[in-house]
């Protein structure tokens, strides 16, 4: 996909996801709502795949299906040749090879950052307990959180907490990292730093990233591919290949190529956003 300029030691890319004709119908008290309609996408190993679409369109439903939080109604999802969920088994098994970073953050508030990071390896019995803690501390230090390893999540800033959450995911060496609008509530400056931190961690691990966002600039800045989704029911409307050179940094944001890509994406998204807004108005009426 792209040259491994950053980690010559080269971690092999892994985590090819293919989503084939997935449909999801919710059925709360007899009212059938189609969230995802016959949606397919193929994500290459180690690809950063950005999902953009209007609110409530069903992006998160796909993420939940991959992670094993919700079942799917039709279709199948395959990870590295193994079926996660399909007609036989509508609900994927939750496992540490697909880890989610949540919209509002889900670091356990009752554990310190180090305990949070050590939690995954500890319950999986990867290493002895003391070693889990040691490795967690090291990982946090590498991510620039050395000063706060023994703080509780409630005591650190949201930016730090979000970085720690990504560390907590990556220490398990997952195949896929699923991010559900992790930087939604942050200001633009913090976001920029978060993006750079994420790219750095990505370069070290080469994990496949499935990243949901509303922010087009974020999508194009981080992604290899940007999937623009339609409003509910969710389908792929447009796939944009982002062939901006890596490494990318804040100067990328001002290049002509970047601006053109944003414009291309913006046109596709705006149309869907309008449709979604009108649909929302109809529902409220």
């Amino acid at each position: 996909m792209r040259p491994d300029v950053f980690s010559p030691g080269a971690v092999a890319a892994k985590g090819a996801i293919s989503i084939r004709n997935v449909t999801k119908i919710y059925d709360p008290d007899g009212a059938q709502v189609m969230a995802v309609d016959n949606c397919s996408m193929d994500i290459a190993p180690g690809e950063v795949c950005m999902i953009v679409g209007p609110s409530g369109c069903g992006k998160t439903t796909l993420l939940n299906a991959i992670a094993g939080f919700h079942s799917i109604t039709e279709g199948e999802i395959i990870l590295d040749g193994v079926q996660l969920c399909g007609p036989r088994q509508p609900l994927a098994t939750q496992s540490a090879d697909r880890i989610v970073v949540f919209q509002n953050g889900a670091l356990f508030p009752w554990k310190t950052l180090a305990e949070n990071v050590a939690y995954g390896p500890m319950v999986q019995r990867r290493w002895p307990k003391a070693e889990c803690m040691e490795r967690a501390r090291t990982a946090l230090k590498e991510a620039g959180l050395g000063a706060v390893v023994d703080k509780y999540p409630g005591e650190v800033s949201s930016g730090m907490a979000r970085r720690a959450e990504i560390v907590r995911a990556l220490i398990n060496d997952p195949k896929v990292l699923l991010l559900d609008e992790p930087y939604r509530a942050m200001d633009a400056l913090t976001k920029q730093i978060m993006h750079e931190a994420l790219l750095e961690m990505y370069d070290r691990t080469k994990v496949t990233i499935y990243f949901i966002t509303h922010d087009l600039e974020e999508a194009i800045f981080l992604g290899d591919k940007v999937y623009v989704m339609t409003t509910r029911p969710c389908r792929v409307k447009k796939v944009i290949d982002v062939n901006l050179p890596r490494p990318r940094d804040y100067t990328t944001l001002t290049t002509e190529a970047f601006r053109l890509l944003v414009k291309e994406a913006d046109e596709a998204v705006h149309e869907e956003a309008l449709k979604a807004f009108k649909a929302g108005e109809r529902e409220m009426a």
Binding site: A67, A147, I193, E200
Partner: protein
């Protein structure tokens, strides 16, 4: 990128963390700050005013109905005297016997209710099935006021001790169970999901998500529970009992001695307040993460 590199540097050398002033230092600081405002003086004035009003009504003017209630002077002189006129003071061993018996009953009832209520509440909150089967029964029995159980308890259990403990236990059990269940249900779904993604087994989820996540509600529940335990203890001791503060109050009434009655009430208030302070203290000790998070939000 530079910001992160800087952080790594800082983390690598890990400078000694600045400690927040705690304990005694904090207390001194607060006292100094507090004495600068009018609040403590007004509070003293308020208490003094009410005690004066109490004295005036009962002793100073001896208004018609108030004269039957012992005023502050009578009360204190009897409470502190070695030879109390009405039989109860800090020098009579009986007084401590009453306190000791009530406290022992409360401790037993509270521990029993906690040992039963917390596990049951955790299960009800965690497992849909357990809740479905037990909650309706629970909700059928809960509206029956504890007082209504009194005669039944006396008939069901022999002696003085068991009915009283049963009633106090029952009252705290409802409060503890309900709050624990609500506590588990209040845990954000994403913590369960995060635990699932990280490869937890059911047991891990229980000990690392369900129990600590419900902790703040459990302790709120325990505070309520110790309050209702005292409430029903007094009721039960009044109706059936040989010792205890509730018994002291009622027997003084029956024997037409009013000073021990008021002593009993005030003692009861103090002991009740003290026991809930202990529960609060233990809760804050166990939930440093919660206390600190609240402090960060400026609460």
């Amino acid at each position: 990128m530079s910001a992160i590199a800087h952080d790594v540097h800082a983390g690598g050398h890990s400078p000694a963390p600045r400690r927040q002033p705690t304990g005694f230092g904090m207390l001194l600081y607060r006292m100094k700050k507090g004495l600068g405002s009018s609040t403590p003086y007004l509070m003293m004035l308020g208490v003094a005013f009410w005690i004066f009003a109490y004295w005036l009504l009962c002793e100073g003017l001896s208004l018609p109905r108030f004269e039957k209630i012992p005023g502050p002077v009578t009360l204190l002189s009897d409470w502190l005297s070695a030879t109390p006129q009405q039989g109860t003071s800090i020098y009579t061993p009986d007084y401590y016997q009453h306190i000791w018996v009530s406290c022992r009953r409360i401790v037993i009832a509270f521990l029993l209710a906690t040992a039963l209520g917390v596990p049951l509440g955790l299960l009800m909150g965690w497992s849909r099935k357990v809740k479905d089967f037990t909650f309706p029964l629970f909700e059928t029995l809960r509206p029956i006021p504890i007082m209504a159980w009194v005669p039944l308890a006396i008939l069901m259990f022999a002696g003085y001790e068991t009915p009283v403990i049963f009633l106090a236990t029952l009252a705290s059990f409802f409060a503890t169970t309900l709050n624990t269940m609500l506590g588990v249900q209040s845990i954000d779904e994403s913590y369960f999901r995060a635990a699932g993604c990280l490869g937890s087994r059911k047991r891990d989820v229980f000990w690392n998500v369900v129990v600590p996540g419900a902790m703040p509600y459990i302790f709120t529940g325990l505070q309520i529970s110790i309050g209702v335990a005292w409430f029903s203890l007094v009721a039960a001791e009044m109706v059936s009992g040989d010792y205890g503060l509730g018994y002291l109050i009622l027997s003084s009434y029956v024997n037409s001695v009013t000073v021990p009655m008021v002593i009993g009430m005030l003692t009861l208030g103090f002991v009740g307040w003290f026991s809930s302070a202990i529960v609060r203290f233990v809760g804050n000790r166990l939930m440093q993460w919660h206390v600190k998070a609240l402090a960060m939000q400026g609460r």
